[in-house]
């Protein structure tokens, strides 16, 4: 029995051992299978179950003015979307959605019948609409919040800022040009989550860094921008201009302080405006500048020693024939003029002869030095080069016509860079609109510094040209820009517009421009205003664009706390002594005109005699009659369409013609 037991014990042990061995073997095989063969897949499955990736949609960076005021930011706006496959009672719910969102019933039904899992009903709705839709608790309806660009100042600076599309990509302006800075990058944060789906933040916080967009600070001063935009709009509307723009610059640094365009648009609803409203004309449009080119050519001629300020040139009474073409002046009394007078009264004949003193290559080189024909690189979208024809395409009289701004195209930005050089003593500054770029953690990644590109004219020549431009405002074609407390230097320009079909100039369409800087001795502001095809009041730059510059200078100098110097103070004191009540009219009008005003008080309703008055004085005297005024020429009045002494009742229009003093 014992022997049998012993024999079976061995057998049982063997069986047990084999069983254990087989079981062990199976375990090893299974383990091998799980760890080695299927290990990779199973590890991935486990990770998927316990780990999750949280995507942080980057916040688009803000755009600020120079003093830190928000110009563009992003806000989360709710939208109504549906999962058509989840939706029941489609007819009833479509009716509800239509009532709440304002979208037509047919359109909603069409969406609900689609065989997809996601579709928008309305991408942007107000908070209250979103709340009401949510309250309905319709299965399959989802409220999705998405970032939308918001411009709190409406149309202010719209042409420079541009706008953003629905997918958070910049489509125009700074928004487009600096999209890669503003947009940031989409990064995922890997976290663990529990059975309830709640995130457990143990590791991986570091990954959240560097996702949001950078903030961009512009050199734009919000107050100056408003003032510039306001007066540009006002004047462009009054003149019925097709388009207009203005640029205000700090001539000492090249920083753009304001840049306004007309007509304007609201970037919050950019799609409601025609595309031509979106263009930033100040940098994209080139135009034949007309007489605003004269100071640049005269500076070059002075530098080359071709002329001196007192060089006398015969202006041939306003008509000068050269190579079969006749150059005309606005007036026919221009005789022997000094260079100073040529600039002051804007004589094309005189300027033509200055241009002809250049060798073609020499003048071409000077245009290049001033920056004409080259991109200014101010950091704006769509900066045009302007057109300076290659030398081999210049006609014999090319230097003549280009000297007074015909046959050459420039942009407003190029002109103000050149003007700033005259204002600051002869240095071409790099124009810029980006002040700094700051990342979301406050680190400055880019900071603009004033950059002198080159010194173009000597201080002596600069002083001479500044004086010529001073004469323009003091008694020449730019008197509309006179200020009482400050001395302004400027230059008017009335450029002809070529018909693209025929290549010939229109005889009734012009570009009216005016550029100026202030104060005369130590300029702090430089400005250019250009109006395209003004059809009312006047087409002269001195009449329709100079007033914009004057009004902006008046306000801007106050805003920037720039006060008049001792000279203006003495002038004010003198004025105060003669009259305790300070009144602009008393300062601006001569004794003769004061007398005229007092007469007018007695004889209101009678047309005054305006002969010999400047444009500003004449306008003041007839302001109260609310007439449609058409101004021709500049200088002093020699003709008025309503005769002095006439009864004003029923009179609606008046034509005033001016000419400079002989």
């Amino acid at each position: 029995m014992i022997k049998l037991w012993k024999t079976t014990l061995k057998l049982r042990m063997l069986i047990g051992f084999i069983a254990v061995a087989i079981f062990g073997g199976l375990l090893v095989i299974r383990a091998f299978n799980l760890q080695i063969i299927e290990g990779k897949r199973l590890r991935m499955l486990a990770r998927r179950q316990f780990h999750t990736e949280v995507y942080f949609t980057p916040k688009r960076g803000n755009i600020y003015s120079s003093n830190g005021s928000i110009l563009a930011t992003s806000v989360d706006i709710p939208g109504v979307a549906v999962d058509p496959l989840m939706m029941r009672h489609k007819l009833k719910n479509a009716e509800k959605l239509s009532r709440l969102t304002g979208i037509s019933f047919q359109k909603i039904i069409r969406i609900l019948n689609l065989n997809i899992q996601f579709a928008w009903i309305k991408r942007r709705v107000s908070g209250s609409i979103a709340k009401n839709v949510e309250k309905q608790g319709i299965s399959g309806v989802i409220i999705v919040k998405q970032p939308v660009r918001y411009y709190p100042n409406g149309s202010l600076l719209a042409h420079v800022l541009g706008f953003v599309g629905i997918n958070d990509n910049g489509l125009s302006g700074i928004e487009y040009k600096y999209n890669k800075y503003l947009r940031g990058s989409r990064h995922a944060l890997r976290v663990l989550h529990d059975g309830f789906g709640q995130y457990i933040f143990i590791k991986g916080f570091g990954l959240r860094k560097a996702t949001h967009g950078d903030n961009i600070y512009l050199t734009i001063n919000k107050q100056l921008q408003f003032v510039t935009q306001y007066y540009l709009d006002k004047e462009a509307k009054a003149a019925d201009s097709r388009g207009a723009f203005a640029i205000l610059m700090d001539p000492n640094t090249g920083a753009i302080l304001a840049m306004a365009d007309y007509p304007r648009f609201n970037p919050n609803y950019y799609w409601k405006y025609p595309a031509r409203y979106w263009r930033n004309r100040a940098v994209t449009d080139d135009f034949e500048p007309g007489s605003t080119m004269k100071p640049f050519v005269v500076s070059a001629a002075l530098m080359e020693g071709l002329i001196k300020p007192n060089t006398i040139i015969n202006c041939h009474h306003g008509a000068y024939s050269i190579d079969g073409i006749t150059v005309h002046d606005v007036e026919n009394w221009f005789g022997r003029f000094s260079v100073n007078q040529i600039v002051e009264y804007s004589s094309n004949v005189g300027e033509c002869q200055i241009g002809m003193r250049f060798k073609k290559a020499e003048l071409y080189r000077w245009f290049g030095l001033w920056g004409f024909g080259h991109t200014p690189h101010a950091g704006l979208l769509g900066e045009a080069n302007g057109i300076v024809r290659p030398l081999n395409k210049w006609s014999e009289i090319g230097p003549c016509e280009m000297a007074f701004g015909q046959g050459i195209s420039v942009t407003g930005l190029q002109e103000i860079v050149g003007l700033s050089a005259i204002a600051n003593g002869g240095r071409i500054m790099k124009p810029h609109i980006i002040k700094k770029i700051v990342n979301p953690y406050g680190k400055v990644v880019y900071k603009a510094k004033p950059d002198v590109l080159k010194r173009i004219i000597t201080p002596r020549v600069d002083k001479e040209v500044k004086y010529m431009m001073r004469l323009v405002v003091k008694g020449g074609t730019g008197q509309y820009c006179k200020l009482i407390d400050f001395r302004v230097s400027g230059k008017t320009g009335t450029g002809q517009i070529a018909d693209p079909k025929t290549g010939k100039y229109y005889n009734n369409l012009y570009t009216a421009s005016f550029m100026a800087f202030v104060p005369y001795r130590h300029p702090k502001l430089a400005m250019i205003v250009v109006q395209e095809k003004p059809r009312k009041i006047s087409y002269y730059g001195g009449a329709v664009s100079a007033p914009v510059v004057r009004e902006v200078f008046k306000r801007a100098l106050n805003i920037l706390n720039i006060y008049p110097g001792e000279r203006a103070y003495r002038k004010q004191l003198k004025s105060n002594n003669s009259n305790n009540n300070i009144n602009i009219n008393n300062i601006a009008l001569t004794k003769h005109n004061k007398k005229k005003l007092s007469v007018l008080k007695d004889y209101s309703g009678i047309m005054p005699d305006l002969t010999g008055d400047t444009i500003s004085v004449a306008l003041k005297l007839i302001r109260k009659y609310n007439l449609q005024i058409k101004i021709k020429g500049s200088g002093y009045l020699y003709y008025q369409s309503i005769k002095p002494g006439s009864n004003m009742s029923g009179k609606k229009n008046i034509i005033l013609e001016f000419k400079p003093l002989t």
Binding site: S69, I70, L71, T73, V75, D76, Y150, P152, N153, G154, L156, Q198, Y199, I200, F201, I202, K222, Q223, Q225, F226, Y230, L483, I484, D485, K554, R555, N558, Y563, P564, Y569, Q572, S575, N576, I582, N583, I584, I587
Partner: protein, 88 residues
């Protein structure tokens, strides 16, 4: 029992304490994770509110809005010569 060496008992106790410490720290870290999550939600809400207020401020201080209100209230820009400089 007498055969059990004292260092064996010390080792068991040490392992037990270390084990308990490990469990405690893991629990604490998970609890802190939840707390951080809650605080993050509060932080986001405050940030959102802050941003809303900044935007509201920007919209309210829009120069065109201020100009309209000032005009309604009878404010005007000073004319030239109406600003009198006071010199010492």
């Amino acid at each position: 029992m007498s055969k059990i060496k004292p260092y064996f008992i010390v080792a068991i106790i040490t392992f037990t304490i270390l084990g308990m410490f490990y469990v405690w720290t893991t629990m604490e870290s998970i609890k802190l994770g939840y707390d951080i999550n809650k605080l993050n939600i509060i932080k986001s809400k405050i940030e959102r509110k802050h941003k809303e207020l900044l935007i509201k401020k920007a919209a309210l201080s829009s120069p065109s809005r201020i100009y309209k209100i000032a005009k309604k209230m009878g404010f005007i820009y000073p004319k030239e010569g109406e600003i009198i400089m006071v010199h010492d």
